[in-house]
């Protein structure tokens, strides 16, 4: 290679790097791209990669995680329309990929902006998982949890958890949880137990973080209910509703700062006497 050729290669290499730096500066290095799918069903993909289904299931699972994470973290307008087909392709290619059923269903079922807000599709994914891996109690447990938490169907959820309890290796508490669901008024406690289980079973990452946030939301709601009870107590003692939470604090009934677990002050409605989580709080939910 002559020195002129070497110089040309070096020059073009430097220009290529400069162009990439320029592109990153103008577009941002962590922008969500415009993802697209050329094949929309698992059957189509499966037919195209005989002998390599496992590898392609992995590739589609990585795409699913990247797509979901990308839309959640970086997209201006979150769009999750590729989420279901990506999960469908993954589990069609590898029907034994437990993680794709469990995480995929949660990605789909969680309400926006955390997930895609498509609980029915998430539950359909888990139902396919239960059919493919009938001896897997975790899939049945998740199916019961999601049915209760997002479809609010306690009876169906209890039945599913009962079936999960019958699966070999299933923990004993599934049956007691199933019974708890059918007790009126125990919704929040049941939800807390479910999220606690999800938190303990999940690895560090999206699902664990989500379970942690749900538990803190429940803490915030319970804090608001406790304060509402104290407002009622003060009303009973003084004969009138306090004008603000500062009155409650001054009365000595409530101790410490009246804030939710995220540190945001609770809101108080002096006409109804109810305390609620502030809309400014990260723990607020409609």
């Amino acid at each position: 290679m002559k020195w002129r050729d070497g110089l040309l290669v070096l020059g073009l290499g430097a220009a290529m790097v400069a162009a990439q730096v320029w592109l990153d500066q103008s577009r941002g290095s962590l922008t969500a791209g415009d993802p697209s799918l050329y094949l929309w069903t698992g059957t189509q993909v499966k037919r195209m990669v005989p002998g390599f289904e496992g590898l392609f299931a992995d590739i589609y699972w990585l795409r699913t995680v990247q797509y979901f994470g990308g839309q959640r973290a970086f997209a201006q307008n979150q769009r999750f329309e590729l989420l279901y087909p990506l999960i469908d392709i993954t589990i069609t290619l590898d029907p034994r990929l437990e993680i794709a059923y469990r995480y995929g269903a949660t990605f789909l079922a969680e309400p926006r902006p955390v997930g895609a807000g498509e609980a029915e599709k998430g539950i359909a994914i888990l139902e396919r998982g239960v059919a493919a891996l009938p001896d897997n109690w975790r899939l049945r447990q998740d199916l019961g949890f999601l049915t209760y938490l997002f479809l609010h169907d306690a009876e169906r959820a209890a039945r599913i958890l009962d079936e999960a309890a019958d699966t070999p290796g299933a923990p004993y508490w599934l049956r007691t949880l199933a019974a708890d669901l059918l007790v009126k008024g125990g919704e929040r406690q049941a939800a807390r137990r479910m999220w606690r289980q999800m938190y303990e079973q999940a690895e560090e990452g999206i699902i664990k973080e989500n379970a942690r946030r749900q538990l803190r939301q429940l803490d915030a709601l319970e804090g608001a209910d406790a304060l509402t009870a104290l407002v009622a107590e003060l009303t009973r003692r003084t004969g009138r509703k306090p004008a603000s939470l500062a009155d409650l604090e001054a009365s000595g009934l409530a101790r410490g700062a009246l804030v939710d677990p995220s540190g945001t002050p609770y809101e108080y409605d002096s006409t109804t006497g109810k305390v609620r989580v502030s809309q400014r709080s990260v723990l607020w939910r409609p």
């Binding site: 002998g51 699972w61 034994r96 990452g205």
Partner: protein, 259 residues
């Protein structure tokens, strides 16, 4: 087989192995090593708990894919190159039979593929160990069957290259390898084409090499044991089909006029 005959076959095989190494075939191992190292480092973060399965899937698929490509492209050129270079004539003028030359070429490339597959397998096991994951016996079984499938690809490539040009034999072998992976579709062809005669479906199904037989990647990735009986059946199938392809290739090579 006489001792002299065997030593002549081994001499051709050793020469073929040296030739393939000189052609830098084993460079793909460097790429494989990089692939395994990067996947070991990156996948744990990207895949949510699936790194072990992905490393196994990736390793086995790479062995299958790279091995098949080497088997195909080197396999079709093994004999034809000697004819084009006119180096076959002085070789055959020596006390070396055509069948010894043909079989020696096959065993030489088979040994190259054995070295290649073994090195890749070592890379896969090392990656699993380095990432604190376990390697199971099923993995060895799956690698063994991949190696058997590579021997079949070589035999098919040599058969076709003994009857036609290198380009056509490459296309033909590639076609057989691809179609052979769709053996389940061929078997159930009548569901799509109800008018297809049963005898035709059966002939196609049994005549086309069934590469699905050699696929134990899923079991290996999930740590399932692969029964010895299954490995035995696949070994027998490979032995018969490779034997058939080599015998047909030899028959064609023996009767071919190189003038």
């Amino acid at each position: 087989m006489g001792r002299g005959r065997l030593s002549r076959i081994l001499a051709v095989a050793a020469n073929t192995f040296r030739e393939t190494v000189r052609e830098r075939v084993l460079y793909n191992l460097v790429f494989f090593a990089l692939l395994m190292t990067l996947s070991g480092l990156l996948l744990a973060q990207l895949s949510i708990r699936q790194d072990e399965k992905i490393i196994k899937d990736l390793g086995l698929a790479a062995m299958d894919l790279f091995g098949s490509m080497i088997a195909l492209f080197i396999g079709v050129s093994l004999v034809s190159k000697e004819i084009e270079r006119r180096s076959l004539h002085p070789l055959l003028a020596k006390p070396l039979g055509r069948d010894e030359f043909f079989l020696g070429k096959f065993f030489g490339l088979a040994f190259t593929l054995f070295v290649n597959t073994s090195a890749m397998a070592a890379g896969l096991f090392l990656t699993l160990l380095a990432t604190g994951r376990s390697a199971n016996l099923g993995l060895v079984g799956a690698i063994y069957t991949i190696f058997l499938s590579l021997l079949l690809v070589v035999a098919l490539a040599m058969l076709l290259s003994s009857v036609t040009s290198p380009a056509l034999s490459a296309i033909g072998t590639l076609g057989l390898v691809i179609v052979g992976r769709f053996s389940d579709v061929i078997r159930n062809m009548r569901e799509v084409v109800p008018g297809a005669p049963d005898w035709l479906v059966k002939i196609l199904y049994y005549a086309i090499p069934n590469f699905r037989n050699f696929d134990f990647k899923e079991q290996a990735a999930y740590g399932d044991p692969i029964p010895l009986s299954a490995l035995g059946q696949v070994t027998l199938y490979a032995a018969f089909y490779v034997g058939l392809a080599l015998a047909a290739g030899l028959a064609s090579f023996r009767s071919r006029d190189f003038e």
